[in-house]
């Protein structure tokens, strides 16, 4: 049993009681709601004649089905089912007194992008959402858990979930990241080392120099993919980076109240002598950008490596999965992923749909154009991200390069709107899942990578090393421009 970790402290603060079934009743401090997994829960609530217990702690937006083309956002939406989901959410939130960030609010977007940027997600909270990527919010030092629809009903009715306390594994990430290597690469490296089910039964506490050096947006990307490593939640202890980020955000208190709140935030960080169930070290020093070659996020290599042979894996299950992956992706053992043909480039999602992600991609795109065989989509994670990018002129970089510049939503991450892969198209994607069928076509193929790598793949029409674009003179990355100006 762990002791003195952030997880233990936050758990204790939110534990209401132990239930007769042995689980703990845990209060949820922030409940995030979206259109796909909530209507059934509202229905269950109504069946029992219950009301939403803590509407003030509940916030909703629409992301999964949101059309990402401006003219397709006119109501009623062209897709009847999408319209029904959206109207149901509007009705349900309105009746329950829940704040809803719709298209007109300017704050709509992917729940895991919206809540952090508004300052709703804070250290020392418990966060739940009917979405497995709720671990994202752990970047602030909170416990974020993805829940199913019946559990959403529980949170609506009682403000709580019934939960089992997990073990805590500290992941010490050593080293320094080189130029053009980002948070996404760090988490893919962790999953490569620990496996897609390595985290089952655990929450991950990420720490060490490579994590501490990340900005908040990078930390969000790391925690986002905890679930891809099998961990129900993942978090990073709050520090000055966290507090600086939170200062001045809409839902964060100001002045003296901020200092008081900060004292709480500091108090819930893991103690120096905290006891973990398990500590592992991952070496991220000098890693290359990573890309997936298979059909789960653990089937991933550094770009300088080659696709492994099924026999390279010890476990039978990994060998079988590798064989299935080689077949689906049409790649061979020993092959480099560099040069793997790409039909679609997709930038966005709750992993990599934030302003700094678009900056990284723009640095690669400046002065280049998208390969003519490539359909390229830039989909901001929220409308605030979009307006911020536009204020900085980043949208022009994307549009000039040949990207479509869209409105906020989940888009081609799971293709519940019009954005979908066709046939066996290959997508260079900044998302978090490369499961078969995930992007809307059962034969579609997904290659996960960081946002700069997506931009490079768009330009070349094949998987490429984005670092080659970052130090190439006047039209290249930001650094290059300054050098020449001197």
């Amino acid at each position: 049993m762990s002791e003195g970790t952030l997880y233990d402290k936050v758990w204790d603060r939110h534990k209401v009681t132990e239930l007769p079934n042995g689980q703990d009743q845990l209060f949820i401090g922030l409940h995030l709601v979206h259109e796909v997994t909530s209507p059934q829960a509202f229905g269950m609530l109504r069946e029992r004649d219950l009301e939403v217990a803590y509407p003030d702690r509940t916030f909703a937006t629409t992301d999964h089905i949101a059309p990402t083309e401006a003219d397709k956002r006119e109501r009623p939406l062209a897709d009847d089912q999408a319209e029904e989901m959206l109207s149901a959410l509007e009705r349900n939130t309105d009746e329950s007194g829940i704040t809803f960030f719709g298209f007109e609010s300017g704050k709509q977007g992917i729940t895991h992008v919206v809540a952090p940027e508004l300052g709703l997600s804070q250290p020392g909270m418990t966060v739940a959402c009917g979405d497995s990527h709720t671990a994202t919010h752990g970047a602030f030092g909170s416990i974020g858990v993805g829940i199913g629809t019946s559990q959403i009903r529980d949170v609506f009715a009682t403000g709580c979930i019934a939960a089992d306390k997990q073990k805590v594994r500290r992941i010490e990430v050593e080293g320094e990241l080189g130029e053009g290597v980002y948070a996404k690469d760090v988490i893919m490296k962790i999953i490569q080392d620990l496996g897609v089910d390595g985290g089952v039964g655990h929450v991950y506490e990420y720490g060490g120099p490579a994590i501490e050096a990340l900005d908040m947006e990078g930390r969000l990307a790391v925690c986002n993919m905890s679930i891809e490593g099998g961990a129900r939640a993942g978090y990073i202890n709050p520090d000055e980076t966290t507090y600086e980020y939170l200062k001045g955000r809409e839902y964060v208190p100001e002045g003296e109240a901020f200092e008081e709140r900060k004292a709480y935030w500091e108090s819930i960080a893991s103690d120096a002598d905290a006891e973990y169930d398990d500590v592992v070290t991952v070496d991220a020093d000098g890693i290359d950008p990573l890309v997936t070659w298979g059909i789960n996020p653990g089937q991933v290599i550094e770009i300088s490596d080659v696709v492994p042979h099924p026999d390279d894996f010890e476990a039978r299950t990994d060998r079988e999965a590798a064989e299935q992956a080689l077949d689906h992706m049409a790649v061979d053992p020993g092959q480099s992923m560099l040069g793997y043909d790409v039909d679609v480039a997709f930038l966005g999602t709750c992993t990599n749909g934030r302003v700094s992600d678009f900056e990284k991609a723009a640095a690669v795109l400046e002065g280049h154009t998208v390969d003519e065989g490539v359909r390229a989509l830039a989909v901001p994670g929220s409308e605030s991200v979009r307006t911020e990018c536009e204020a900085r002129g980043l949208d022009e970089v994307f549009i000039n390069a040949g990207f479509q510049w869209r409105r906020a939503g989940c888009s081609m991450c799971l293709a519940m709107n019009d954005d979908s892969l066709e046939g066996d198209e290959v997508c260079a994607s900044s998302s978090n899942r490369n499961f078969i069928g995930r992007q809307g076509s059962k034969d579609g193929r997904t290659v996960l990578m960081n946002p700069a790598m997506v931009a490079a793949a768009a330009v070349e029409g094949q998987v490429a090393d984005a670092r080659e674009y970052l130090d190439e003179g006047p039209t290249g990355g930001a650094g290059g421009v300054e050098e020449v100006a001197d």
């Binding site: 009743q25 989901m85 629809t149 009903r153 069928g437």
Partner: protein
């Protein structure tokens, strides 16, 4: 309020093997079918892509061959990926009352508990043998005894594991967590009052 508490000590019926490790919820219930505001039709979409050929005809996927089965037998890390309850809902509505497998993703297991579907585990050999037995005995009865933690099929009785919380919840008929927690409202208020961020809010 009305609860739908019931004791689930035993489930039985014929079996359906769903082989493969890391079967994710995108396969179990593809996202394109989640655009409905109720779970009513989910059975129709269960393993939708995997069950069909390119021309849309049913292939020889086990769900097509073992229609009417109640016990799904799966391998390791079943139900990983998205948290969608649509996946176990679709299985339940298709007819699955219980699952035997090597291991489950946690959210999937939690969702099964919420629905009163026992999800028990056994080792790889045991599970594979059961899968093979079903192939040879499509009409054979399988019985999951939640209380005794055993699975019986043909002349064979195997010991299985079940998560403690799930076992208690099912056997004692307290898997309806809403009812359980609803009665603790005053305690919740006390907890909230102690949270620096929840009282006197922003």
């Amino acid at each position: 309020m009305s609860g739908d508490d019931q004791h689930i000590t035993e489930v039985s019926g014929t079996g359906v093997p769903i082989p493969g490790d890391d079967v994710d919820t995108d396969q179990i219930l593809p996202a394109k079918f989640m655009k409905e505001v109720t779970f009513d039709n989910m059975a129709d979409y269960l393993f939708y892509d995997a069950r069909r050929d390119d021309d849309g005809e049913f292939n020889d996927h086990p769900l097509n061959r073992f229609e009417g089965a109640s016990i799904a037998v799966v391998n390791s890390n079943f139900g990983c990926g998205s948290s969608r309850e649509h996946a176990p809902q679709a299985m339940m509505r298709w007819g699955v009352d219980g699952v035997v497998g090597e291991s489950y993703a946690e959210i999937f297991r939690d969702n099964c508990k919420s629905l009163g579907i026992p999800a028990v585990t056994a080792d790889h050999e045991t599970v594979t043998e059961l899968q093979e037995w079903i192939e040879a005995n499509p009409d054979g009865e399988i019985d999951i005894d939640v209380e005794d933690e055993t699975v019986t099929y043909g002349d064979t009785v195997i010991d299985v594991d079940i998560d403690d919380a799930m076992r208690e919840a099912l056997v004692d008929g307290i898997w309806d967590t809403t009812s359980l927690m609803y009665s603790n409202r005053s305690k919740v208020e006390e907890t909230v009052a102690d949270l620096p961020y929840a009282e006197g809010d922003d």
